[in-house]
Symmetry: C2
Subunit: 203 residues, 2 copies
DNA sequence: CTATTGTTTAAAACAACGTTTGATATTACA
DNA sequence: TGTAATATCAAACGTTGTTTTAAACAATAG
């Protein structure tokens, strides 16, 4: 069962597909191109992954797993609300800068099969926000911050972080900037987003 | 040129495709289904629109044209910054509530062909923000609001408005709410977004 | 060693998709 | 009316993702 060459082949498929998906986008890469680039037979793709969709989901989970856990740990940590928001925003942007695939993948999934989103455990992990919500409510009731709708606030937080990456090509075209300049813009954005969020709730 | 039946056929195609795109999503509707539903021959689709992509872009422009103009007028109007932001956010959310296609369309385009975004004049119109940026800078220099990066602020504004619609299926799944409840949530969000934006820049 | 199980290859075909072709109607206009 | 432009149609094309079938190869257990 799963001899040396087996794992190698599966891994070659994953690596090749990841690189191609990243380079050209999921929908502009065909299975034949993946197989050819990886130097393996087309049928092997359906031997290890029953479909392109499953290969895609596999890669997605690999890419997002540790990062999602990283972000969840921050939300569940014992910090002041201010520091937690600052660290969450900063880390989230770093994660997206390191993995250009992620937002594109999520958008692709949401856009493609809205019904099968629930199946992805990773996303569930990403938005496990109970403790953060609880902290927001406590601080709010204690009068340490303004009264706030926790659900809306969290939605705003991820909107401010994620959306610019979702429309990255549009931003680059509009501002006539290249990839590196976009990355600089996003690093600079960390502080902007934190300030916007914090000043909107602090007393 | 363009006899009675001609315009009718073209219009039937547009109407049918719009309805189907709205119902099932652009990528889950085939050209044969559109033709069959419209009761016209398959080839006529490529007779009037050279490709499915062009049919899609045509519909997109029709759907977004007046709305984009509506939003631009608000940004260019002579109001106090506070009222302008409130009206822009409120109107933008109303537009998206009325046209569930729009965000899905934009995401589809950004995701599909990032290079051909510039071609769409409508988007150019959507993000014609010079006068708004200028107003932001003036108010900032006059000390009426906090010093702010206008580009980042505008990006934040559209992020807060658009992103929830971009991930609507995810939100509904996560909060276990139906379409109507999501719409209520978005209507309620108007005030939340405005407050977040305004308190983050007001003195 | 042999038999079984898992892996790899090749070639072909499938259904569905967007698109194109070429023939045929229909209309417009001189 | 005659002819060119326009509109419509059935059929096929090329490319997808996926499946099938048949044949080998490798590794392991009995």
């Amino acid at each position: 069962m799963s001899p040396r060459s087996g794992k190698t082949t599966k891994q070659k498929l994953i690596d090749t597909a990841t690189a191609l998906f990243l380079e050209k986008g999921v929908d502009r890469v065909g299975v034949r191109e993946i197989a050819a680039t990886a130097g393996i037979n087309l049928s092997l793709m359906n031997y290890y992954f029953r479909s392109k969709e499953i290969l895609f989901e596999t890669i997605f989970e690999i890419q997002i797993k540790e990062r999602a856990h990283l972000l969840r740990v921050i939300l569940d940590s014992e910090q002041t609300l201010e520091n937690k928001i600052r660290e969450y925003v900063s880390t989230y942007i770093d994660v997206l800068l390191d993995n250009p695939l992620l937002v594109s993948f999520v958008m692709s999934i949401v856009h493609r099969s809205p019904d099968t989103i629930a199946k992805m455990k990773v996303i569930e992990n990403l938005y496990h926000t109970e403790s953060f919500m609880e902290q927001l409510r406590k601080e709010s009731e204690a009068g340490n911050i303004k009264p706030i709708d926790a659900e809306q606030f969290f939605l705003s937080m991820i909107s401010l972080v994620l959306f610019p990456f979702a429309i990255q090509p549009l931003i680059q075209d509009r501002n006539r900037i290249n990839n590196e300049q976009f990355r600089t813009m996003m690093r600079y954005r960390k502080e902007h987003v934190f300030q916007a969020l914090w000043t909107s709730i602090k007393n």
